[in-house]
Symmetry: D2
Subunit: 347 residues, 4 copies
Amino acid sequence: MIRVNLSSDYMEGAHSAILSRLCETNTQKSAGYGLDEYSEDAKEKIRTAAQCPTAQIFFLSGGTQANLVTLDALLKSYEGVIAAQSGHISLHEAGAIEHGGHKVLTIPHKNGKISAQDISRLINGYNSDENRDHMVKPGGVYISQPTEYGTIYSKEELSRISAVCREAGIFLYCDGARLAYALGCSENDVFLPDLAKYCDAFYIGGTKCGALFGEAVVFPDKDAFPHFFTIIKQHGALCAKGRILGIQFGVLFENGLYTEIGKNATALARRAQKEISALGYETFVNSPTNQQFFILTKEQYAALREKAAVSFWENLPDGKIVIRIAASFATTKEDIDEFISVMKEIR
Amino acid sequence: MIRVNLSSDYMEGAHSAILSRLCETNTQKSAGYGLDEYSEDAKEKIRTAAQCPTAQIFFLSGGTQANLVTLDALLKSYEGVIAAQSGHISLHEAGAIEHGGHKVLTIPHKNGKISAQDISRLINGYNSDENRDHMVKPGGVYISQPTEYGTIYSKEELSRISAVCREAGIFLYCDGARLAYALGCSENDVFLPDLAKYCDAFYIGGTKCGALFGEAVVFPDKDAFPHFFTIIKQHGALCAKGRILGIQFGVLFENGLYTEIGKNATALARRAQKEISALGYETFVNSPTNQQFFILTKEQYAALREKAAVSFWENLPDGKIVIRIAASFATTKEDIDEFISVMKEIR
Amino acid sequence: MIRVNLSSDYMEGAHSAILSRLCETNTQKSAGYGLDEYSEDAKEKIRTAAQCPTAQIFFLSGGTQANLVTLDALLKSYEGVIAAQSGHISLHEAGAIEHGGHKVLTIPHKNGKISAQDISRLINGYNSDENRDHMVKPGGVYISQPTEYGTIYSKEELSRISAVCREAGIFLYCDGARLAYALGCSENDVFLPDLAKYCDAFYIGGTKCGALFGEAVVFPDKDAFPHFFTIIKQHGALCAKGRILGIQFGVLFENGLYTEIGKNATALARRAQKEISALGYETFVNSPTNQQFFILTKEQYAALREKAAVSFWENLPDGKIVIRIAASFATTKEDIDEFISVMKEIR
Amino acid sequence: MIRVNLSSDYMEGAHSAILSRLCETNTQKSAGYGLDEYSEDAKEKIRTAAQCPTAQIFFLSGGTQANLVTLDALLKSYEGVIAAQSGHISLHEAGAIEHGGHKVLTIPHKNGKISAQDISRLINGYNSDENRDHMVKPGGVYISQPTEYGTIYSKEELSRISAVCREAGIFLYCDGARLAYALGCSENDVFLPDLAKYCDAFYIGGTKCGALFGEAVVFPDKDAFPHFFTIIKQHGALCAKGRILGIQFGVLFENGLYTEIGKNATALARRAQKEISALGYETFVNSPTNQQFFILTKEQYAALREKAAVSFWENLPDGKIVIRIAASFATTKEDIDEFISVMKEIR
């Protein structure tokens, strides 16, 4: 019998404060397409949180959508985007970036993170190649915070990547699908004003951070894309009832709820990591956020699957198996206790 | 002072039954990406309603998205889609179909509707043109039910269009952004089983018919697109929390709610039309559904805008102005009474 | 028996001077991809002829290719291009522009020509439309000189179209597939320096004007597209032996050969038009260039096809048929005499 | 002083027999767009040479164009193509495949060649991945014969790759930009009938094998792409004077000229390799075709560049430099002698 389910952070609906607000505002009438007051209010709150009073902000429905629409706007037709081999756009978006006409130029990663040095090496390689005019020009860099492995860039790392990009005249874009869990992490020193300072664009994830759905794309430069609204529409990404997105982000950015959600889930996930490590399990990556990765034997994995739902991550060369758990706004202390019990039982 | 707002059918949240269900199910856990039980249940209800037990069904977020993803799957790279000059894909989707690589081959319309004869003429013109191999091949037909002008195709008209398409070996696709209002219209004789019979694909609109957001794309042929899931993902159109769509459509297709919503709004809109016509106003189109179009003088329009919110539709050559009102799930008898009062006052 | 063939201007090889030069230079070695001295020399000659010493020039293989690569570079992702309903890009390029992601925004034409007024009307319509952010933004204008009907824009007309474009901040692009025949026409007052002055880009057609193949795309602004070389490559439009194009254009722009070719063919075509009109045939369009259009009865057309090869143009509502003849660099006085004889016989 | 130039195989015009035929046929008139008798004759000769009487054949202008147009036709919208990391489409086509919407799925190579085993591994990895519906589906395999490194696949290797593809239901496509040099190589056992048997599509390169320009795309299955003509047009890849391509391929496939060109150049290149190796130079790859790769010290390279033109290939980690020479239809015994002398001098 499955006693606990920690397989992902998008298994439930939304934070209760969001549902309440949707119910309260339900019959009020507003303009469509995000031109409503709820959306305007949410944008203003995000601008305040990011200390970027002139930022352009747009609400989209999902993460792959945010990546493809934004990168389509940022990249020139002959440009590609640099990303980690493990990046979401590299592996798990069904080729959305290529479908939009752009190559993903992959570089090695360490626990999901790429380095300013490797970015620099790729750019220099391109610039010094005699055949560069026959090649895809690197137009920008894609990172995610946290990464696919739950790791986070420090402010120092982010600023170095940003400096390489600005030196080369290319953009830096950050995928923040799970940004709340970085913001809510005690080791983290990259906050919204830092993203606004170092990136040319980033998105604040809602879907995986307590909203029903929705992501907020932020362009710190107010003049970045005067026609981004039309670009959104052209990709089928414009919500007729845009208010639904505005209302949700309005709640998330009220009284620090967004960071609060991240803090709770991250604390729960790290307690699990600490106690499960103490049981003698090896962790696959030292993740400081809401995703945690453990290495199990085949037998342990088989036993685990009878009692708990987790995410299969990968097979290791030695035959062992990596699993991932994720905590969300809806994860409880009891869920974590139960999962630790299960891990104890199968040890 | 604005006393009543009938400017569109996407100004409010969702039908209360939908919100209730979202609240009830909120903390239950489910699989992502539409692979959950709520979505499966909703699909089954739609299959039943359409009397098409093997239909493939996919939930997407919005109408333009449904059109572009589905047409991208239906069209071969060298094909275009036939549509009315007034069609939503022709005018108001920011070139989404062309951005996906396909020409919209426009033909004349009558109150938003195109005829089997005009479709046939275009196909024959293509087939008999010596230069056809240098031209865009018509690959299918796009219609909407109801149309942009609120008019509806009869079963006879639909079956004739379908016959022309099948004879030519091309597809028929129906945009049902406001389908509830056709289904809820007393003159209508095209029901879901008819769409499943005559079309190769169609979508059942949620966003403009009482849902927070969401459209259900239906392929009557179960073998139509084995990889449509990946096509959706590639367009950034896959919801991580797909259950949110499934839950909503589950409610809409329970106890006939979808048609009920359409019936109420249509009845209200038509009462407005009848009484406002009786006041001496001319209607622009004889619409049998939830959208109604009235012709006003410039002076009347100026006076109206002080008291009611409506949608500007177009300027007529004689200087008069066409306005549109739309009723939705949230429109009340009182709203309509108030609007009629306003129209009386400005007469 | 077919006694004479005037069906198009791309039925033969190349002007003999071109073949000679290809033979003379055949074993000399040069750099690839258009970076050779022949290409540089040809570009310099074109810059001189256009009185535009800093123009960027690129040689491509064919007309549709020149249109699609250049328009892809000129148009932003959310923009479409304004063109005549009869334009080559509108009808006879198999949707190449849409395949590249852009809508062709068609406007009416008069004998193939569009007017500054109609362009202005479309732009104003877009700018004043409340829904414009949901629509394709007009990004530029496509014209051809001569047009599909052999007609030519006067300098006055061109300057007015250019003024409308510059006022609106959009580009003007001219397709010169048959430019030699405009330049060689006695009524013409639009020369290369005028195209360089009024257009943002244009191409000088080689394929239909005496070359084996090849078109020269000209950007008067030297800073227009620093990465156009890569854009060409990305479209599969870069010739490895680019010298073949350079050698041909070098010959065409030596001693005025290009205009000379146009002059001869145009003179022959117009003699045909004059004498055939004198026989009582009606012309369909009053074309001043190398293409001429005559109206025949069905019986005349049937008789003609036994004796001469021409191009079928279109069926008229009254059952008559429009044919087109085209003169090229290879057309002789004898060809025209023979064609006139045939027309006399079938009268 | 540069005494000899062996930097590439596309530095000269065309084989003299081709120029002669272009001159002889120059004023004869023919239909456009490849519908002429010269093209038909050339296709028939290729069908005979490939022992594939029903093959569909199309002539295109260049290699990148042939790759992108053919792969666009072969790949479904959600599919990518498997290729060597060193493949021409992977590195040196400016992202043309991605621009057409498809990911290049790279795998490791050995001297430019990929193995059936690595292809199989990628396909199995995809098929067994739980997230495969979120990933790019491998739709086919791209190889080149000879490869970028001049190496060739044996019939055994080709048949094994083909078997893997057919087992997986995906296509095999071969880029034959330099195919003549494989056909003219004494170790080669893959001939045109083998390509027709094992591949779903391949192209026979003209541009780098003695033609002015042109490639012949071959689909062994006559029913492969009924609308490939329109697909070509849509990519701007249709030559108005298609005869120019037909005439050239007609000459190349007359009396075995194509293989003859390959044989001569390959023999010259291999003599260079043998004698230069004997001088003590190391070869970078053991290439059996017209491209040869030598490893030089920095000093040798500097000295070489004063006396001969070659192609820089890459820097080795130890600071040495790889150069490439290529022999073509125009390379003479004297060129090779001179190059050997130079290499002797700088030793």
